[in-house]
Symmetry: C2
Subunit: 352 residues, 2 copies
Amino acid sequence: MTLPIETPAVLVDIDVARRNIRLFQDYADRHGIRVRPHIKTHKLPQMAELQLDAGAIGITCQKVTEAEAMVDGSGRITDVLITYNILGEAKLARLARLNERVSLSVVADNAAVIDGLAAHFARAPRPLTVLAECNTGADRCGVATPVEAAALARRIAGAAGLRFGGLMTYPPAGGTDRVQAFMSEAKRLIEADGIEVPTITSGGTPDMMQAAEAPVATEHRPGTYIYNDRSLVARGVATWDECALTVLATVVSVPSENRAIIDAGSKVLTSDLLGLSGYGHVLGRDDIRIDQLSEEHGRLVSDGPIGLAVGEQLRIVPNHACVVTNMVDAVHIIEGGKPKGQWPIVARGRVL
Amino acid sequence: MTLPIETPAVLVDIDVARRNIRLFQDYADRHGIRVRPHIKTHKLPQMAELQLDAGAIGITCQKVTEAEAMVDGSGRITDVLITYNILGEAKLARLARLNERVSLSVVADNAAVIDGLAAHFARAPRPLTVLAECNTGADRCGVATPVEAAALARRIAGAAGLRFGGLMTYPPAGGTDRVQAFMSEAKRLIEADGIEVPTITSGGTPDMMQAAEAPVATEHRPGTYIYNDRSLVARGVATWDECALTVLATVVSVPSENRAIIDAGSKVLTSDLLGLSGYGHVLGRDDIRIDQLSEEHGRLVSDGPIGLAVGEQLRIVPNHACVVTNMVDAVHIIEGGKPKGQWPIVARGRVL
C-alpha cells in the first residue's frame, strides 16, 4: 500500500505504541513497580502524556534542555528525573529554573558534581533532589561499590540545598541479579547511616519483564519499549508487529538485479548497529539486507533477484528507534492504518 | 584552554576551513578542473560563499530541500547540481520552482526517473538539465556500463523539457583510473550519437589530489575537504592541524582509573565508523580510545591512568565530519583561536 507521505519519513503507529505502553504498565502494576519512562525514544510530550495516562509516575530525561522541551510541551508533566551528571553554571541555572516548575531530580556519581549542585542550590528557594548513580555492570557512569554509593549519599544528605533521593542505575542487559545485589547492600549501608532511601530506580527495555526479579528496585525506566526496534526483535523481546516506529522510504534506483537503492540513508536510519549486521529490516522482505548506508542512500541487496521497482515504497524497522527520532523534525502519526498528521519532535537535538 | 562555550558543541575553525578550501582550489585551478563542492559537509550558505569566493563554480546538494535551504540562505548561490534521482510529484514541484531561481541540474540513472522528470518539465517554462549517473565501482547508484549511459543520454536528450547535461559519478576511493576509462568510453558513444557532453563530474575528497589523473572529468565535487576528519587523517589525506571541525565536550565522570565519560555521545559524534575502530580522536591524547557511545555519553578508555578530571574540556575530531553537522542546530565559529558566535546550520536535516 502506498502512503500519501513524502519520503523518507518516520512513521509511528500510535495503536501499536498504546499497546506497548499498556503491556509494561500492566506488568509493573502487578508487581508494585513504579514506571518512569525515558523520553529519549519518542522526545514527544504527547507520547509522555499517553504514558502518564497509563499510570507512569513521571518521566526520565537525559539532558536539561530535553527536560525543558518536554515540560514546555505539556502542562501535565510534573515529575522529571534527569539521569545525568550536571556540571557548569549555564546548566545549573537552567536546572534551578526547572526546579521551580516541576518536581525535579538529578543524579550524581562523584563529589565534584555534588559540590557543584550544592554550591548552586544552597542559595535557591527549593532544594534539589539528587540520587547516587551506581555501576551495576554497564561500565559507563556510576560508582563501583555500595560503599562508594553510601559515601555519595552522605555527601548529598549533608549538603545545604540538596535532598538525597535514593539510588539509580542503568544495568546492562541480563544485569537484574547484579541490580538486586548492589542495591540491597547500598541501601543497607545508607540506612545504617540514618539516611532514608526513598527511591531505587533501574532501567532498560530488554530486561523490563524481569524487573520484579530485583525487588529492591522501586521504579523502572524503560525507553525503547514504546516503539520497539530491530535490536529488540533480535533479542526476542518484541515481534515485528510490536514495532510502532518504521521508516517509510522509496526505491530510487534498481541498478542491478540484486541491488536497490532507497532514499533513506544514515541521516534517517543512523549508523547504529547495536551488535547487528545491516541497518534495518525491510518489513515483509526477510530476504533483503540493508548492507550499506551513506547519508542519503540506503543500499538493499538480496541473494536472488530483488524484485523491486523504482518508485515503490518500503517500510523499514530501524536497528535503534531512539536515535531515529533524533534525525527528523517531525513524525507522521498512523492511526487505524491511516496517516493522522505530523507531530513535531520538540525534544529532538537537545544535547545541552 | 577552557572555551566559554556550553558543551557538547560543534566548533569550526574558520581559518583552517579557509586554508582547506584554498588548497584544493589551487590544485584544481592548476589542472583546469572546475570545483563544485558538496555542501553536505557544512550545510551552511556562509561556507558555500567562501568556496565560491575561492573560485568554485557552484554547489552540489543531495536532496531538493537541502538545495532550497542553501539557495534561500545566500543570494550568491546561482548554480546547483543535485546528485540524486528525484521522484514523486511533491519533489518535482519543488524542483520546478527551484529551476526558476537558479541554474539547476539533477542526475538520473534509470528510465523511470527520466520519464518522471520529462512528464513534469514538458509543461515547465524552463528546461531542466539532467546528467546520467554512472557506477564506477562504488556500487551504489549509477548505470553499470558506458553503453547504458549512452542510452540514458539519448533518452534525456530526446525528452521535451529536459536538456542533457553530461555524466556524473561518485567513485570509490582509488577509483580514478576507472573514472577515466568509463567516462572516456561513454563520452565517445554519446558523441557518436551526435549529443554533446558538456560536463563530466566526479567526486570525493580522498582522491581529490589525483583528480587530474582522470583528465576526461571536467569537474570535481569534494565535500569533506573543507573540514576534514579522522577518516581522512587515517587515510593519510589530512593532518590533525587540517581538521577544521571538532567536538567540544566536557568530562562528566571519571568512574575508574582508566575510564572517563564525556557529555558527547552518538547524538553529536554519531555512530559512523567508516572502517575505523572507536568514535573519534581526542586531540593531544593519542593514548585515549573512545570505545563506546550511547546517545548522550561517550566512554573514553586508556591503558594507563587516564588522568582526566570532572569538568575538564576536550576537543575531539570525529570519524566523519559531514554527519556531525547534521546533529546540531548551529556550529560555533572559531577565528584566531577565539569564539566568534554561532551559525545556524540551515540545511541540517533536509532529507526530502
